[in-house]
């Protein structure tokens, strides 16, 4: 089976427009996260992979995040697909919610070739800024459909701030 040009072709102008825009926005807000594999991650060697873009040293993934708040709490949603929830470490440090994790690669049992290997594996760290002080010991986290959701009560309940900026 030959896989000479596995091109990432965009099928239409609109697709590439929207994806380009999407990446630009997410890159600007730190969603682009480096994944560093270690021995434990168990990634295949370069020689076993036909994907020309494969790099066993580092992977990249957009771990998109959203922060919501109301008077009493802050809710952070972070996209981290394919994790075992025991491999996720969530902490509040210096006004940021810091999520660390290790995404392991599951080797196929049969003998074959990896034709495409785009997903990121290994250890990563993503920090999301929190808008206000929170009670980290009362935080609740859940992981579903590959999305980590952390709910943090505010120290001082208050409506989300609206900063007005005067334009001269």
């Amino acid at each position: 089976m030959k896989f000479e040009d596995l091109k990432q072709g965009f099928s239409s102008f609109w697709d590439s427009m929207s994806e380009g825009w999407q990446h630009l926005r997410q890159t600007a807000s730190n969603a682009l996260t480096g994944f560093r594999p270690s021995e434990q991650t168990n990634l295949p060697a370069r020689s076993q992979v036909d994907d020309t873009f494969y790099m066993p040293s580092i992977g990249w993934s957009m771990l998109g995040g959203d922060v919501f708040e109301d008077e009493d709490r802050v809710v952070v949603r972070l996209e981290v697909p394919g994790m075992d929830k025991n491999d996720l470490d969530v902490e509040v440090e210096g006004g940021m919610l810091v999520v660390r994790g290790e995404k392991r690669f599951q080797r196929e049992e049969s003998e074959g070739r990896y034709r495409v290997l785009q997903c990121a594996y290994g250890s990563f760290r993503r920090a999301v800024p929190l808008p206000v002080d929170v009670l980290s010991d009362q935080a609740k986290a859940s992981y579903r459909d590959g999305v980590l959701r952390v709910e943090l009560p505010k120290v001082r309940p208050e409506a989300p701030k609206r900063q007005t900026v005067r334009v001269d």
């Binding site: 697909p81 785009q118 997903c119």
Partner: protein, 135 residues
């Protein structure tokens, strides 16, 4: 917050896909995939965070596979977004498949936002000429 309001809506835009025109109504993000091939078939993994089972659509035809998923945002009702990393709420990716793959016997699992799809090769097929084109 929806930045994608500013994006051109692609209604009526058609896209050629291996000799077939497909109507493309909305922009979508392409999920990252891993594709593994062995003597008996292919296994595909796609990252689809936030897509629950009922919002995942797989269209398997004899020569193509379409993966489509809608992100279910469980935004708590009264909450305001103070920081949203703009994301299109939809994933879509289309692959053309060799006819040697027996799409009738495909099996799919969705776990922790990752789709695992196994498509065996037809019994009589030699493990030689399969083309999975990434579009």
């Amino acid at each position: 917050m929806s930045e994608n309001r500013n994006l051109p809506q692609a209604s009526g835009e058609t896209r050629r896909d291996v000799g077939r025109e497909v109507q493309r109504p909305e922009p979508a993000l392409m999920p990252l995939v891993d594709v593994f091939e062995d003597g008996k078939g292919i296994t595909l993994y796609a990252d689809l965070p936030g897509v629950p089972k009922d919002k995942l659509h797989l269209q398997l035809e004899s020569d193509s596979l379409t993966i489509e998923g809608e992100v279910s945002l469980d935004t708590p009702g009264e909450m305001e977004s103070s920081h949203a990393e703009v994301r299109l709420p939809r994933y879509r990716r289309v692959f053309s498949l060799s006819r040697e793959l027996d799409t009738d016997k495909a099996q799919a699992e969705l776990k922790n936002g990752v789709l695992k799809l196994r498509i065996p090769k037809a019994e009589h097929a030699q493990p030689r000429k399969i083309e999975v084109k990434v579009t």
